[in-house]
Amino acid sequence: MTLSIAVQKKLGGFTLDVALETGAGVTALFGRSGSGKTSLVNLIAGLARPDSGRIVLDGRTLVDTANGVFVPAGRRRIGYVFQEGRLFPHLSVRSNLLYGRWLTPKARRWGTLDEVVDLLGIGPLLGRRPRDLSGGEKQRVAIGRALLASPDCLLMDEPLAALDRARKAEILPYIERLRDAKRLPIVYVSHSVEEVARLADAVALIDNGRVAALGPVSEVFAHLEAVSDWEDGAVLEAIVVAQDRAAGVTRLEHPAGPLTVPHLDIAVGGRARVRVRARDVVLAVGEPGRLSVRNRLAARVVAMAEGEGAEVGVRLDAGGSPMLARVTRDAVRELELAPGVAVTALVKAVALDGT
């Protein structure tokens, strides 16, 4: 199963111009909000028309503006999981799940209600109404509803963005199971490094309506700097544990260690996202001793990518979160950095931007 896309469409301030080919497994469309990711997914689903271009799914032409082909959304057999779920409020969970199935000819159907209910763990919800579901439950039902229409391809537009950390953690394993159980091309839109690193087989970095980079996750994330004003780095999600007003800092707890950042306006117990730029990270092997650097995260080297000139990109795993460091080739040699080596990642508090 392959999905090949080559489309152009003028949007508000820029032109979406994307050529992309994806196969089985998860292809992530990664980029900032407003970069055109959702517009691209809507073109694939048939909810919008491109100005020009072609979309072909497994040999089936869905759009070909040159020959006047436009298959309406209802006949594309492309599942779509929306950010807000979009369950039908007037139907029960069971009827929501079966909606697409009723509309699918028997010969085309794959998977059964029981199978999907099992995969997503939504058995106890079947008799309920959508408004009685939590955010995480809604998203699981939305995924099940899309699957039961027996699609040839699944689009997921930031399915976890509206959920808090706990709900995300609840759903991610189901999406992983889905990825591993079905040989279905999945296009997964996200701006979360964490989600993409965990789920995606390939990443297309979308910037200003164009594919800025395309390839396996590790490669694309290590070369984010190639893109206009993206600076490579990583986003750490951490819990606010204290506000130190006297010192003007906020203290966070991350699985890899405590973090101190310039004051953030988030209540204690709340969740903060901290962006760590690769060039602000210092790596140390062994106990670093007395330093002014406030943040010391225990990490392990996952992979190394040769950059331009003297630089080497080092991909780290810091308590389960991916992190990037950019150091000199010289330093790599002296510290004997290699995949598997335990390091301490040091970041100055003033270099961190939290949100």
Partner: protein, 231 residues
């Protein structure tokens, strides 16, 4: 009941209910279609259609009745057409009363349905399309059920307006007992008659009771739907 009401009064009540029910049921499909057109359609003349539909709401009922007489009288262009094509005569028949009531109730019905269609999240219709639904199925399985509260409100408003309709009806089809004399016309006629006050009061009370029952019924339906999850 016949101990308290004369046969003429019973006939007027029965006729009123028949005329209002037929008027509402016939208006309904047109009401939904026009509401859909006004809520969703982008076409030249949309404002004109909007104005035309609302005209009976703001014109004196006598004017509406007179225009109906001109158009749907036996010699009127539409009246002649319906008589030749369907054998349907409106002039001085109960069908004419139903037509007048339907025209008068139509704007209220369209308004209620249109508002509920406009409040539907179109993203739900898109979601239905991605699940394999064509336009007709999206309309029947998502749009229509979600517009149901507005449709029911429109039915109640149109029915109530039809029950109370007087001016256009009496102008268009006159006040013929047993054929076009609905409750309001009967009450009017009784007030004009010496010693008719008692009978007029009886019909008035019944009219109040029917209106009240319709209101309570619509409230009950609305509550049941709210419980059922239709929002």
């Amino acid at each position: 009941m016949s101990d308290y009401l004369s046969p003429e009064e019973l006939t007027a009540i029965w006729l009123s209910l028949k005329v209002s029910t037929v008027a509402t049921l016939v208006a309904l499909p047109f009401g939904i279609a026009v509401a859909l057109l006004l809520a969703r359609g982008r076409f030249p003349g949309r404002t004109l259609l909007d104005g035309l539909v609302h005209l009976p709401l703001v014109m004196p009922p006598v004017v509406t009745g007179f225009l109906l007489l001109l158009a749907f009288g036996r010699k009127g262009p539409l009246g002649a057409f319906f008589e030749q094509t369907f054998g349907l005569v409106f002039a001085f028949r109960w069908t004419g009363a139903a037509l007048a009531c339907g025209v008068m109730g139509f704007p209220l019905m369209v308004r209620a349905i249109r508002l509920s269609i406009e409040s539907i999240d179109r993203k739900l219709e898109q979601a239905a399309a991605t699940l394999g639904a064509g336009r007709a199925i999206v309309f029947l399985s998502v749009t229509l059920p979600l517009a149901l509260p507005g449709i029911l409100a429109g039915i109640v408003l149109c029915f109530a307006r039809a029950l109370g309709e007087f001016g256009a009806t009496i102008t268009f089809v006159s006040n013929i007992p047993g054929e076009t004399q609905t409750m309001p016309s009967a009450i009017y006629a009784l007030i004009q008659t010496p010693d008719g006050d008692a009978a007029a009061l009886r019909l008035t009370l019944i009219s109040v009771a029917i209106s009240f029952a319709a209101l309570i019924l619509s409230e009950l339906i609305a509550r049941r739907m709210a419980r059922g999850g239709v929002t």
